[in-house]
Amino acid sequence: MASQYPKAPKRNRPKNLNLLTIRLPIPALVSIMHRVSGAFLFMLLPLLLWVLHQSLANAEAYQLAQAVLHHPLAKLICLAVTWAYLHHACAGIRHLALDAHYGLRLNYARATSRAVLIISGLLTLRMGIWLW
């Protein structure tokens, strides 16, 4: 038996999947950065455990870890890890608020997304000053 409902008209909706021209709404930007920062932290976890292990094992290993961490590239990685952790944490706290139905309205969702970017950015800056 044919469907009793009329067929939906075929629409030629525009498709834009070019990543270079898509302008993400700010909550979407925070969302994808949340995922990317989480994946990044997962990948760097063995490296961080290695540093912790060296720093606590004995005095020579501690000095090795210290020398490694003083390298400019290592400092850059530390800063990236710090930023990823802070962004992920701030975006996660925002998520918990959304779970509790706080800040669901579009203007609040945009404002809290901006706040996540600004707060995690400022905290990373603070850590960067302390690192250098």
Binding site: R35, G38, A39, L41, F42, L45, P46, L49, L52, H53, S55, L56, A57, N58, A59, Y62, Q63, A89, G92, I93, L96, D99
Partner: protein, 115 residues
Amino acid sequence: MVDRKKPAHGFSDWAWQRATAITMVIYSLLLAVRFVVDAPSAGFEGWHAWFTPLSFRAMTLLFLWALIYHAWLGVKEILMDYVHNIDIRAKLQSVFGLVLIGDAVWAAYILWSLA
């Protein structure tokens, strides 16, 4: 994409993701406070002594295990979104799962070999 014959873990995954997240936030704040009020003295001896109290090591291990389980849930979610071939996804999940189990054992070893 989901094997409906196996029990799903949607709700418990959701809840554990949040429980581990809150654990990490609390630990991070306590760690920051301790750094300010009770900074470790310079050098290996000071750093090592900072990690000696059992309570601190237990909290740090709890934090690291929470982080690792949180990462496991995140890894599964990302794989589910981007890897649609079930065999490949199962293999990748096993590999990343083993890596995370290794991380968890390593974390315990680091903190407990101190004593």
